[in-house]
């Protein structure tokens, strides 16, 4: 699984040079709701709830935690 992940990442980086937009085509990406961290508070709340109820955590960022709830 890990090997596959690294392989996929290499492929992605190779392909990156041809993928993307010019600076003047960033109109849509510049909209606040297109930011990947649109709602940091929502994300933190969700992470905290799922951390305390499920065996998995993190992924989006660092593993969450810092709580005696699990």
């Amino acid at each position: 699984m890990k090997a596959f992940g690294l392989f996929a990442a290499c492929l992605a980086l190779q392909g990156c040079a041809s993928v993307g937009v010019e600076p003047w085509q960033r109109d849509v990406l510049a909209r606040p709701e297109m930011s990947l961290d649109t709602n940091p508070v929502d994300a933190a709340i969700d992470d905290h709830i799922y951390f305390s109820k499920e065996a998995s955590s993190g992924g989006r960022g660092f593993g969450g935690g810092g709580c005696g709830c699990n």
Binding site: A9, L13, V19, Q25, M34, L36, D42, K53, F62
Partner: protein, 435 residues
Amino acid sequence: MSDDNNVSATLAAATCALLGASAAAPVMAEEAERWSFDTALLYYGESDDRVQDVSATIGAQRAFEDERLLNLTLTADTLTGASASGAIATDTPQTFTSPSGRAVYTTPAGKAPLDDTFLDTRFALNVGWSQPLARLYTLSAGLGFSTEYDYTHLGANVSLARDFNKRNTTVTAGLAYSEDDIDPVGGAPLPLSQMLDVGDQSNKRTSDSKDVIDVLLGVTQVLSRNTLLRVNYSYSQSSGYLNDPYKILSVVDGVTGDAILRTPAPGVLGPTGVYLYEGRPDSRAKHSLYAEMKHAFGAPVLYGSYRFMTDDWGIDSNTTEVRLRWPVGDTSYVEPQLRYYMQSQADFYHPSLVQGAALPAYASADFRLGEFDAVTLGLKFGHRTMGGNEWSARVEYYQQSGTIDRDQLIGNQFAREQVPDLKAVIAQFGYRFGL
């Protein structure tokens, strides 16, 4: 032109000659508000009087020159209610010693035992800083601290991002370390030691600790004018005391599956069955692969994410989440949210332990280490005010449905519901504003 003071005047005159006098009004511009706040009030409530949580979060962000950014987040929450202890339901009432070791509580016949002494107030503070380092690099660092009556967390993280390909690609690498101290009510029980009578603390240590190292590697890629993809690989290594000090397992008869009865010592209160405190391995390594995508279909924005996690406890999980942000009128939006989660059970998950059989090296009956699916259905509504602030309301319904492998059930246990569904309602109100 050596006299810079004349630049503005000369330029103004030249512009006036070019455009005419019509545009001659002084500029009114300033940088956007420097402090912005993101606040939320949250209610989380499980059905059947289980865990209830009320929390308040204030996030503050201060932008400085040159894209330097300070983030502060303060959270306070209060948990009340009971959570499943891990002991099985039986046809007779069961009595347990409470975690403090100073009292007992009784669970009625046929009910899943809950530890109802659960009450906790938690404060958490996170501080983050991010700034460009060289032209294409961004450095971020953070510190986190949280405290509960039985738990203290201290963490630090640092990450470096580099942009490539006209800033269409960002590669991030990060490292986090945390050290947590656990000081449970009544002490931390020795793993797989038996629950003792009131007053007998011989199997408890005062406190314990664990540390966690996280490594994160990520790539963010602009796929098109309206599509953005992020892929993260993360590795997390925990070591130390990884038990939940309040979780126990029932010891049962190998044929009937019923709890083995026990009589407390004369004149003292104590458990009426044989219960062992759980014992998890003292290390855990997790690998996660996470991908998320945002795509704008005109005004609506679709978000999708998928996470695969696997660890050396034998747990694999798959998580999928989809949200669709749909504008309503010019200043509002609705956002339906759907999340599906499924995990396999840990190698050492046992709903109960059989009397007389060899004691496994590790065992836990914590439902969170068992096999289950979870669905979250949610709806968020947001509205931007005339002043440019935004309030939002979000309601979610969360349901877990556990499955116990039939090989792990014994005798009468088949007839009883061992893992009741966990149902919870989440309501959140948020307000964002700038100063």
